[in-house]
């Protein structure tokens, strides 16, 4: 179900998909409902009662032709006909990507798919990243910049918009692009496309950092409370969100008696221990 927001408009609670409804898990408000069953067909319409499918796969933004492609099948044929089919298949695959632009798009989309699967992100996000890449291409931003950079930037932006931010260094670790290419592509997109990205909420980093540090859910919850305090006190302003998130986790882990050093927390967040410590000291003093 496509819900544009991830938080409840009434109480800012998390939205959870429940059957064909999107429900706020805090107040129970039904944010969206969708009575169409998108599951498989219940009965068969063809003469043979084996295959109930009437259509192919749905259109998707994550293919250069929206998934509406034709393929020449591999039915068993012999001799001259087989050779003819092989030739046709070759010409067909060549014709499928008609322009350089299409070819670049396919390459970019493959890289996006790879990044999305490496980071374990949902499919909806992949589609969003792909359409971002497409709009960047349509706005002629790609000239002189690297395709890999744009693929990585599209995923980076899609994550930020969906409220599941990844740090740049996390993305670069998996991506074919390097940090400079990612920055160039992101800057260009941000400038020309007017991306709806605001400052990153450090809370988005908490669950991931907590998993990487091997901290359990209670520590993560305590860290979230620290973060709320920090936000109210204005500590998050002008600070690297990664550093703040790491500092909150470190503080919570310390209270809990969990094994977590400043160096380890800083390493996971890809900040220096000094950055972490400055946030932590401020947090402790309040």
């Amino acid at each position: 179900m496509a819900t544009s927001t991830t938080v409840c408009p009434e109480c800012d609670g998390r939205i959870r998909a429940d059957g064909d409804e999107a429900v706020c898990s805090e107040c129970g408000l039904v944010v969206a409902e969708d009575r169409i069953d998108r599951g498989p067909e219940w009965r068969s319409f063809a003469d043979d009662d084996r295959d109930p499918r009437r259509t192919g796969a749905p259109l998707t933004r994550s293919r250069h032709d929206r998934g509406l492609s034709t393929e020449i099948g591999h039915t068993r044929v012999k001799g001259r006909k087989r050779r003819q089919w092989a030739r046709m298949r070759r010409q067909h695959t060549r014709a499928r990507m008609s322009s350089k632009r299409d070819r670049n798009k396919v390459y970019g989309f493959t890289e996006i798919r790879r990044l999305v699967s490496a980071a374990g992100l949902p499919d909806s996000l992949r589609d969003q990243a792909c359409s971002l890449f497409e709009s960047a291409q349509e706005a002629d931003l790609l000239c002189g910049r690297s395709l890999e950079g744009f693929a990585a930037a599209a995923v980076y932006v899609a994550c930020r918009v969906a409220g599941v931010s990844r740090t740049r260094s996390e993305l670069v670790a998996d991506a074919k692009a390097d940090a400079n290419e990612l920055r160039a592509a992101f800057d260009a997109m941000n400038r020309e496309l007017g991306l709806p990205v605001g400052p990153i909420d450090p809370a988005e980093y908490l669950p991931r950092f907590a998993t990487e540090l091997g901290l359990d859910a209670t520590v993560e919850r305590a860290a979230r409370e620290y973060l709320d305090v920090a936000r109210d006190e204005g500590l998050t302003n002008g600070r690297n969100p990664c550093g703040v998130a790491a500092a909150c986790l470190y503080a919570a882990a310390r209270d809990d008696g969990a094994d977590c050093t400043q160096a380890a927390a800083a390493d996971v967040a890809d900040v220096t221990p000094v950055t972490l410590r400055s946030s932590y000291v401020e947090l402790r003093d309040r």
Partner: protein, 521 residues
């Protein structure tokens, strides 16, 4: 045995651990050894990099596979253990990440080979059978199971893909690598045929040896259209002299007479001639050298692949193939002379069951091939764009995941079989138990197949004589008997052969201290 004791035994057989035990054993075996074996068969991924001048070739070496237990990765990046009930409720897949050691190696032509990059990387996710060794709930006590919301009496033995429980149907196939002799009719004449489904590493080739109405033997196998004279083929394999061929087939005077007829008609006398003739068949209209190359390739690749073995010389394999063909010839002649009856395909000794682990092996093999093709493409692409080649950036983990999950979710298996995975029948508890112990014959349900549907005497104690559906599937879908024990493949084939050799079996290839001349007699 008195009634009480019988009851105790019966109850043991129906205990919870045993209900889906065949699934667990097979799948655990696949996880422990099967996966690594498939990867070791693949060994390397070759690329086309280095075909051009001044470029060093690049290839990838595949190492150890490792997997953890099922876990779920949330969109926010946190990762935690996944239990079956959560997978069912959230409509997600109960799957564990698979990691593989990979090594990108460049060089070998002019420069020495250097390792460009080497890491263990996540290659995809493998759906895990509920209750198997890699399942998060294996070894839990009833209280612990209740604590996390699992049903303590659930038998397990199925997969959870996108929230739906799928069981892999055990399928009943004809035994591979066995000679089956039977009658057939061709142009109205009755002829005798010896068949072998030769199978090795997922490649299956049907080899037919038939005695036509003139009494001449012809062999047909994949990649050769039509059939080849038996004598030509055996000579191409290195069994040259008339005397040896006859001796290898049989010493029975009547069979010898048949064989001499065959030898009289023979068009070739030596190994070279035979290979040339074969070359003309497999690559007609091509150059002489190519014909020879192709003929040798076909012999080593498509003819009786199951006789190949690690560490056995190609020449020994060829002569063994010749001996094997002689056995098939003998079976044909014996059938023609009424010395034996045709083999019974419905006899349970001629059947093998493909359980979940075997099916997953097939799936994993094709998935790995697909992954390898993708890695090759990504490597070539990265090289063309002058990127640094790293393991992490050339592996797309969704390729393998997709190839593993999709067939289980839809039932459309590799090799065109459909309905392999089915939604677990949750009508009631007995429904589940029956479904997990069900097996299916691959024969079409729209044809009569009276013999296949009949209850065969050899099913005694193995297959339930009464539980089968009514209607078109009658007798094709069967259920295990209560006390059925499913035996597995011999794990250590070398050990078995050594044991056989010590008991006096001669001529096993690859075993020291045996007399080569009397092989396969």
């Amino acid at each position: 045995m008195n009634r009480e004791a019988r009851r105790a035994v019966s109850r043991e057989y129906f205990s919870q651990e045993r209900l889906a035990e065949h699934h667990f054993r097979s799948f655990n075996n696949f996880l422990d050894r099967g996966m690594q074996r498939v990867v070791d068969e693949k060994e390397t991924i070759e690329t086309d990099i280095g075909d051009k001048e001044g470029q060093e070739p690049v290839y990838v070496e595949l190492g150890d596979v490792r997997m953890t237990t099922p876990r779920v990765r949330e969109a926010d990046g946190s990762e935690e253990l996944l239990y079956p009930q959560e997978a069912r409720l959230r409509n997600i897949t109960y799957a564990a990440p698979v990691f593989m050691e990979m090594k990108i190696i460049r060089g070998g032509e002019e420069e020495p080979e250097t390792v460009v990059d080497q890491t263990e990387t996540k290659v995809g996710r493998m759906p895990i059978m509920v209750g198997s060794n890699k399942c998060n709930i294996s070894g839990f006590s009833d209280e612990e199971l209740v604590e996390i919301g699992e049903d303590p009496v659930d038998p397990g033995g199925y997969f959870i893909v996108n929230g739906s429980e799928r069981v892999l149907m055990t399928s009943e196939d004809l035994a591979p690598n066995k000679i089956l002799a039977e009658y057939d009719s061709k142009y109205g004449d009755e002829i005798q045929v010896a068949k072998t489904f030769s199978q090795r590493r997922g490649y299956r080739a049907l080899v037919l040896c038939e005695r036509n109405r003139e009494g001449l033997l012809e062999v047909s196998f994949p990649s050769v259209s039509g059939s080849v004279d038996f004598v030509t083929l055996v000579r191409a394999l290195g069994l040259e002299s008339d005397e040896e061929i006859v001796h290898r087939v049989s010493d029975d005077p009547e069979i010898v007479k048949f064989m001499l007829e065959n030898l009289e008609e023979a068009s070739v006398q030596t190994e070279e001639e035979a290979i040339e003739t074969l070359g003309e068949r497999v690559a007609s209209g091509q150059g002489k050298n190519y014909q020879l190359k192709r003929a040798n390739y076909v012999i080593d690749r498509y003819l009786l692949p199951h006789l190949h073995e690690e560490g056995v010389e190609e020449e020994d394999v060829r002569i063994n193939k010749a001996y094997y063909l002689c056995r098939m010839a003998e079976a044909c002649f014996e059938l023609a002379l009424d010395r034996r009856e045709s083999d019974d395909k419905d006899h349970y000794a001629n059947k093998r069951l493909k359980v979940s682990g075997d099916l997953m092996t097939d799936l994993f093999r094709t998935a790995l091939n697909k992954l390898a093709r993708d890695v090759k493409y990504q490597l070539e692409r990265a090289n063309m764009r002058n990127r640094q080649l790293t393991v992490n950036t050339v592996v797309r983990s969704d390729v393998l995941t997709e190839r593993l999950e999709h067939p289980i979710a839809t039932g459309n298996w590799v090799g065109g079989r459909s309905g392999v995975s089915q939604l677990v029948d949750r009508t009631d508890y007995m429904g589940v138990l029956s479904h997990l112990r069900r097996l299916r014959s691959p024969l079409s349900r729209s044809q009569p197949h009276f013999e296949a549907r009949d209850l065969h005497a050899t099913q005694w104690g193995r297959i339930c004589p009464s539980e089968t559906p009514e209607g078109p599937n009658c007798g094709l879908v069967k259920n295990f008997a209560q006390a059925m024990e499913l035996s597995q493949n011999v794990e250590d084939e070398q050990g078995l052969k050594r044991e056989l050799a010590s008991m006096g079996v001669e001529g096993i290839p690859g075993i020291e201290g045996v007399d080569r001349a009397s092989a396969d007699d």
